[in-house]
């Protein structure tokens, strides 16, 4: 394939936009896995659930998918609370969170996926909105709206989360909870309550990420699996639990995947994330911005 500057720049731009979206997908994992030590591998399943909810409401009422996701945020928050409650009672309190907790989330991932298949089948579903087919063009470069809007939204969400985590008492308590629960108790904060709030927020982000996903591409129930490798690669590379690190890592992965897709073909893109993950684990397990 010819190497042209336009193609290269287009690939970089697409990568940056994709990376912004990946940051939204990973934000939830950064909180649950990075800060709370809860290995929520079912997170991508919740994202797909978010996509399908956006799809159903968009199909029946024609409401904008992004708007839908903001409306269902509270529902996902409570779903997160419920999941955390089960997790806490069954695993954290019994001290068996490692092996059985993982199996629990794996089961959740699988059950969600199979239920979606049973209800909707394995067809690809997509949403309708005015801006999806629209793209800004600057000479040879183009910025499709269906990539730009999710990217901007996720940057906004990340900024909000970062402000919440660093400026409010609850936010700081969330950052502290994985480090020293006793110290947190001495500050008159209940670690279980703090963890529940944090986990609920992490699931709530899945609603937004899910809506963004279905704006970007058609969705079928098994799509979530591709994201497992990606989100954990980004989370680990970014340095567990660091949102700025997550953003940088997501952008990096987005660019590398976009370049791979442009020059080698899109079917190779999923392997990139794994290569990223393995290299990170082998050479810098604490991540780019790890503490």
């Amino acid at each position: 394939m010819d190497f042209t500057v336009e193609l290269f720049i287009n690939a970089i731009v697409a990568g940056l936009l994709l990376g912004g979206f990946y940051a939204a997908v990973t934000a939830g994992i950064s909180i649950s896995f990075g800060m709370l030590d809860i290995v929520n591998i079912a997170h991508p399943a919740f994202i797909i659930l978010g996509s399908y909810i956006a799809y159903i409401i968009n199909q029946t009422f024609g409401i904008d998918p992004i708007l839908i996701s903001i409306v269902v945020l509270p529902a996902f928050y409570f779903l997160g609370s419920a999941v955390y409650q089960v997790y806490h009672v069954s695993f954290e309190r019994r001290g068996q969170d490692a092996l059985r907790g993982l199996a629990f989330f794996f089961g959740l991932l699988f059950v969600t996926e199979v239920m979606l298949i049973l209800v909707f089948g394995v067809d690809y579903r997509y949403v309708k909105a005015d801006y999806i087919d629209y793209a800004y063009r600057f000479g040879p470069f183009s910025i499709p709206m269906r990539m730009l809007i999710p990217c901007v939204l996720s940057l906004l969400m990340l900024a909000l989360l970062q402000v919440f985590l660093t400026r409010t008492f609850t936010g700081r308590a969330i950052m502290a909870v994985s480090q020293d629960q006793l110290a947190l108790r001495l500050m008159a904060a209940d670690p279980v309550r703090i963890k529940r709030i944090a986990f609920s927020i992490s699931i709530a982000t899945a609603a937004l990420a899910g809506a963004c996903l279905i704006v970007i591409q058609p969705v079928e129930p098994a799509v979530g699996r591709e994201y497992i490798g990606r989100v954990f690669a980004i989370c680990v590379l970014g340095g567990l639990g660091s949102l700025p690190g997550t953003l940088i890592a997501a952008m990096l992965l987005g660019i590398v995947e976009s370049l791979t897709a442009t020059y080698y073909g899109p079917s190779w893109a999923p392997a990139v994330a794994f290569g990223f993950l393995l290299l990170t684990l082998a050479f810098r397990p604490s991540g780019l911005l790890g503490r």
Partner: protein, 339 residues
């Protein structure tokens, strides 16, 4: 019970089951039985790493598919060696092809074992969660590689036509019977290996890792080496379980070989049966495998996956020790009450 005795008894049980299945006069029993046996191998293999060491492997499907695809690749190579091999090794290749199923099983075991060792070496030095995530990602990536590898069919999949029968001495054996027998031997082997490990120094080493890895390390247990041994054995057995699969199913595509159901089943079966001893995965595999075969026929194949998922979630929440663990507890309590 001494080990050779155990092996012979287990083999005898397997052969008796085979004989009983013959009296049914219906090949469906063998097709269903093969799947259950395959799950016995997968569940037992998973348990060597997951149950004994406490390291969760989500990528059982990847190892299984390595086995299946190594068979596909060798089968393809055997059909026209002159096209793919350099002249130097051609006579040698023609002498050994076509490979018999047991040989393919051994080769698949070697390949999957090496992949297990490699993955383990990269990720096992870190916290357990990283290994789990890496295995999950491994499945996705190997699937990508196979999708892009046109030699084994890529996304189109590959057709493997199994012969009608195989001649052993003067006796003509139906092919599905042959495959079922291979699986019986393989599952007896897997269970024997699991039992051997459980009662050896290796098994005690594994148990110390599961209970407290840092303490074990401090006491001089070579934890990394033990974990690597466990990953290699576990991966090799999973690969071996996958090797006869193309001949059984006739058509392999990345979607079937890497199906998430293998990953879920090989976790769910030990978890439901009980993870601390060899008998747990065996019971789990027989129960869940049979249940799935019945559900596939009576309800639908998607519903049976839902059943497995729900059972897994229900068991880890309500009965974390599995069937074996809770039965043991029951008898222990009764003994206490009797005293």
């Amino acid at each position: 019970m001494r080990l050779p005795v155990f092996f012979l008894i287990a083999l005898a049980v397997g052969l008796v089951a085979f004989g009983l299945a013959l009296t049914f006069g219906n090949d469906y029993v063998f097709y269903a039985g093969y799947v259950v046996l395959q799950f016995i191998v997968l569940a037992t293999a998973w348990n060597i790493l997951g149950g004994y060491c406490g390291y969760v492997n989500f990528g059982s499907a990847a190892f299984f598919a390595i086995g299946a695809y190594s068979t596909v690749a060798l089968h393809k190579l055997a059909t026209s060696p002159a096209r793919y091999l350099p002249d130097g090794i051609l006579p040698f290749a023609e002498a050994i092809f076509p490979l018999s199923v047991p040989t393919l099983v051994v080769i698949a075991g070697l390949v999957a074992g090496v992949v297990g060792l490699g993955t383990g070496y990269l990720t096992l030095r870190l916290r357990g969660a990283f290994f789990a995530i890496a295995t999950l990602a491994l499945a996705v990536v190997l699937q990508t590689l196979v999708l892009n590898w046109s030699f084994v069919g890529g996304a189109r999949g590959a057709y493997i036509i199994a012969p009608q029968s195989v001649a052993i001495g003067a006796y003509e054996l139906r092919y599905i019977h042959y495959l079922a027998l291979t699986m019986i031997v393989l599952s007896v082997l897997a269970v024997t290996i699991a039992r051997l490990i459980e009662r050896s120094r290796l098994g005690y080493g594994f148990a110390t890792i599961r209970d407290d890895e840092i303490a074990a390390e401090a006491c001089g247990v070579p934890t990394l080496r033990l974990k690597l041994i466990a990953t290699t054995i576990s991966g090799a057995l999973m690969g071996m379980a996958g090797a006869p699969f193309p001949y059984y199913i006739g058509y392999v595509d990345p979607g079937t070989a890497f199906g998430l159901s293998y990953g879920v089943n090989s976790i769910a079966m030990p978890m439901i049966g009980g993870t601390t001893s060899w008998i747990g995965p065996l019971i789990g595999a027989i129960l869940l495998g049979t249940l799935q075969q019945i559900a596939t026929v009576t309800i639908s194949s998607a519903a049976n996956l839902l059943i497995v998922g729900l059972l897994l979630v229900a068991f880890v929440i309500i009965a974390p020790k599995g069937i074996v663990g809770h039965v043991q507890d029951y008898f222990r309590n009764r003994k206490k009450e009797a005293q």
